[in-house]
Amino acid sequence: MPEANPHQQVQEKVRKLVDRIQGLPTLPVMMTNINQMILNPRTSPKEVAHVISNDPSLTSKVLRVVNSSFYGFPNRITTITHAIVILGFNTIKSIVLSSTIFDVFRRTVKPGDFDRTQFWKHSIGCGAAAKAIGRRLNYPMLEELFIAGLLHDVGKIVMDQYMPDKFAEVINVVHTRDCLIAEAEMQVLGATHADVGAWLFEKWNLSKGLIETTRCHHNPALAGENQKLAEVIHLADIVIRAMRFGNGGDNKIPVLSETAWRSLGLQHSDFDDLFVQTNAEIERAMVFLDFIR
């Protein structure tokens, strides 16, 4: 019998791992509806706005983000329809998706638990760094970079929430070995948060770009047609660690892929400016931290 290739073996481990997760949330119906509506070219902004406006809490969050310095519009936007007309369907969808994920994975945290505030700070910081890198590269879709950075580590929260004992073991290994969380996950679970996050996004039918970037943010060469996006998130994850903003569960810096670095075409002398630009993006993105409070 032919041997399974390493990718299949990891997929099988992830399948076994997630099979043990009981009661994993489905993507809220409202989000699924918005995804489907946006695919239809005849959908009007008013129709999507109507769906969002049925949820007052979500409406207020979307308006808070669109009126924040993250977008920096001079005039106040007061309706979701107006926000969609100005920012477009995809941007509004990204804001709704991030808000939904913050809500789905909300939990009361006790002292000693995995620190979710630090985790989300790392994630927001990674999104901000991705945007700063994207600007430098003239990447056309900065929004896509921010969301991919924001959500790249979601698998950690899935594990923390739905297999807390195993995840506590992972964190314990990180602590005792002072190693990267992905190394500890491989030791304890045989798969990483990147695999679990990608699996969740697949299940939720999210974009291929988001799925592959999440899966490959530690190894962007495997991301196929989404390689460039994955390379930016790979670098952003490392840059934000080097800036010591937030904490994704470990306190080490992984080695940057030389292939990714060469492919992005940046210079070593760009790092100083990248830090300054990322810092500015973080300040603009702080409105997202309100979502977790």
């Binding site: 630090q118 990180v174 490392i238 080097a242 306190n251 810096i253 940057l256 070593h268 790092f271």
Partner: protein, 107 residues
């Protein structure tokens, strides 16, 4: 506020900043009065330095304080980057990280 070695901090002094472990978990908040148990916890979590409140309140940072903070930050960056030495890009990133973090201290 001043930076002291954990070994030299004494019960009764107050933490001037939130104290987190290497994983970023909050151990105790700024303003917490240090106890022998808290100091022991810090040592067990390999927290080598603590910011504590000066008796005289928020006095401006002295050059000695700043130098101690710079050294602590640089030591922490060296630890975080341990094992990446063979990469020239990582070496450049490490130096940029030190410049960025130490420049923030002075502000």
């Amino acid at each position: 506020m001043k930076l002291v070695k954990t070994d030299e901090a004494r019960p009764g002094q107050k933490a001037a900043r939130d104290v987190t472990d290497l994983r970023g978990n909050l151990l105790f908040k700024a303003g917490t009065e240090l106890t022998a148990e808290l100091l022991e916890t810090c040592k067990q979590r390999t927290i080598s330095h603590l910011f504590i409140e000066d008796a005289g309140g928020d006095a401006p940072k002295t050059p000695v304080d700043l130098q101690a903070q710079r050294e602590a930050v640089q030591k922490e960056i060296d630890r975080m980057f341990a094992g990446t030495e063979s990469s020239a890009t990582m070496a450049a990133l490490k130096e940029a990280s030190k410049r960025f973090l130490t420049s923030k201290l002075a502000k």
